[in-house]
Symmetry: C2
Subunit: 221 residues, 2 copies
């Protein structure tokens, strides 16, 4: 196909496609005579993956290049490539300051308690988790830290869905595209659903229970 | 207590406390003679709530004022006050464009299928959900939309934890503070845990299964 069709099929403007080729994120098409360059299905897949990382995941171009190099590595299994992609997605979310050792220990303890033995103790999301725990501590809401263990259980349920979605895909580029989009848009979807579910559960707890939590000690409401 | 102690106990600088008083977010202290103003425990609670909304939830001052007015309303039950706070947290996340009717219908259908009957069809988080669904559709990843129903089940589990945390609190200000902080920092905590859990589940699915999903059709990895 010509660049116009590649652009139409992926939703990426032709100028952006050329930019990705110059940056080494996409191989150039096959030159067929004067002024005619052909692209194939592999370009469609690769372009969709690049778009997912750049547009949906806000991954910097240099990091995208790293993930792509990982895919090309014949000895790498898909699990380790997914790990590289996951770390690339963490880049722009890492806390500016190193979390306190106390909070990092607690983050590791939560992971250990769930039996998650595949997590490297230096994993960037452990630092992001520790940072949020530290903020709860600073706000003097330590009992909320205890809930983190319960959240981990729910997170595992969601991660099972996430991986089930990847297992329907065969090509590495497609698996990674689904992983990046599913992770990033999945966050937004889960966040919205959690808040909607709170409304529902709150109605049940506070309305049908006739404001029990407030009335049990005083009637000032 | 004097303003210095109020500041120390809440972590809010004295100048910010004075600003909140001027903006009507906090009642002034009790004047006791020349140059001496006393604050009480109610000020501590209110200030913590204001801080949670402004600093943690990024709620604009005008919206904070609305939520506080709601708390003072004697006829309002805590459930409806929580609803007002939840909508205030949605403000800066609303999509710029109105989602397509098709996506909004699907968002409502997901909520209906879970039996969540307390959700107003115009709830802002339905629009946020519809927007994310629309992005999946644009990316041509329609099968991921189907997963949203499964996410809803997990979101309900998390929302149950969230509400259990509120039920240990008695004062309306404290309930709302815990709700705002729990919702916002809870998003960050869940997001980190979900990504950590993905690493764990991916290791199980792809490593112990000897890369089954890739090897079943070809051996190109």
């Amino acid at each position: 196909m010509r660049i116009g069709e590649l652009s139409a099929r992926t939703g990426v403007p032709a100028a952006t496609i050329k930019y990705y080729v110059r940056e080494g994120l996409l191989s150039g098409g096959e030159r067929r005579g004067h002024n005619r360059v052909e692209y194939g299905e592999a370009h469609v897949r690769r372009l969709r993956l690049v778009r997912a990382m750049v547009e949906v995941g806000s991954v910097p171009i240099a990091k995208v290049r790293e993930v792509l190099a990982e895919i090309e590595e014949p000895d790498r299994d898909i699990d380790s490539t997914l790990g590289v992609a996951s770390r690339a997605l963490a880049q722009h979310r890492l806390p500016a300051e190193e979390p306190r050792a106390q909070d990092l220990d607690l983050a590791r303890e939560i992971v250990r308690r769930r039996g998650w033995d595949a997590i490297h103790p230096g994993h960037p999301y452990l630092r992001i988790l520790a940072d949020a725990i530290g903020r709860l501590r600073e706000l003097d809401l330590v009992d909320m830290v205890d809930m983190t263990g319960e959240y981990a259980r729910a997170a595992e349920i969601v991660a099972e869905f996430d991986l089930a979605l990847l297992s329907t895909r065969r090509e590495r580029d497609e698996i990674l595209e689904a992983m990046v989009v599913g992770t990033v848009l999945g966050d937004a979807i889960f966040e919205a659903l959690r808040r909607i579910a709170q409304v529902q559960v709150s109605a049940r707890v506070y309305q049908r229970g006739q404001q029990k939590p407030l009335e049990s000690e005083d009637d000032s409401s």
